[in-house]
Symmetry: C2
Subunit: 206 residues, 2 copies
């Protein structure tokens, strides 16, 4: 049968499973919650706490953070400015695919540069929700869960955001979280209230 | 409150929403179906046809192919051997994240080199299912949906798999599809039968 083309193999319409149909299957829309803030500001902790709440309501979520991106997709990248930019570019593209797949994506990266976050906003559009985890360097340094601030102060880590490298706070974030003063539960509640307003999160009737 | 660390922010256990819990939410396991074969062998067509069937049964799927990867995440890469290897590396990492997120991933890339596909197998483990779309160069060239074979023969495209660059067929693929002779429906059925055997796909009782 090699001498005649199988036209039946070529006329199939691609990608019939659209984002909208996935939303119907999941019973919820997909968005990108982009957490940004200093190391120790609670981005990853908050993202996972929020994910747990969303899961309990039957939402489909995924957290992208240093643990699953820096050791994998971006395993070839270091921490030079150029590599940081490329890392955030890849995360933006990755997040866009997850949103397309119907998943509520929560990204937890310092993402210190405004221009990089803005690229994510351009890429994903109105479904990009910037969540600024506002926390003073003092508090982050006191927490210093991973001992990174101590090492940065000792000069063992170069270009450390907040110490020897700039952090550019969002100018108009959709959400600004006071992770200096509010508890995790309060922060999660604030984000959920926003998602309710946006019509994304719908608490079950008791 | 800046002068005392919020220890409550640091003790939260990360990633409570595991792959297993996602499987419970979705009522199905996640796997990676890695389609490989020549350009025109029907990888993308088959992946989308299979996705449609799975969607209709309530399965959570996503197709990664040239359309959504080459223009996005791998937009910085060309077609040199080095760039092809990096492209497939990224797709492997990407697919791993989707599998972790509970999604049945279908990747549709020529992926001509055995070593690259084997890396995906190492990365994803037993949930890596290699689907060889076996189709002769003659048939693919006759179809030539995108006019690429014509351009490759004219020397306009260098290193074109099957013409001027090698394709290394899988040695022990989980599935070998005769896309030279079988219809799309037959191919989809063959894959579904395999997924039933593996306990991943469960046809609804009528």
């Amino acid at each position: 049968m090699e001498n005649k083309p199988k036209s039946s193999n070529t006329v199939w319409h691609h990608a019939t499973v659209t984002r909208q149909r996935r939303a119907e299957l999941n019973s919820h829309q997909s968005v990108l919650l982009w957490f940004t803030g200093l190391s120790g500001a609670g981005k990853s902790t908050l993202a996972h706490a929020l994910e747990e709440r969303l899961y309990q309501m039957g939402y489909h979520t995924f957290v992208l953070d240093g643990d699953n991106v820096r050791h994998g997709l971006s395993g070839d990248l270091g921490f030079s400015n150029e590599d940081r930019v490329e890392n955030i570019r890849r995360i933006n593209e990755l997040a866009k695919l997850f949103v397309e797949a119907g998943v509520i994506v929560l990204t937890a990266f310092i993402s210190p540069f405004r221009s990089d976050r803005d690229k994510g906003r351009s890429l994903v559009g109105e479904d990009f929700i910037e969540v600024y985890c506002k926390c003073s360097v003092t508090t982050c340094e006191q927490r210093d869960v991973k001992g990174l601030y101590r090492r940065a102060r000792a000069g063992e880590i170069k270009d450390f955001t907040g110490i020897s490298s700039p952090y550019e706070p969002p100018l108009h974030p959709e959400l600004s979280i006071d992770s200096d003063n509010d508890s995790i539960d309060q922060c999660v509640e604030q984000i959920l209230q926003y998602l309710i307003q946006r019509g994304i999160y719908k608490p079950k009737q008791q």
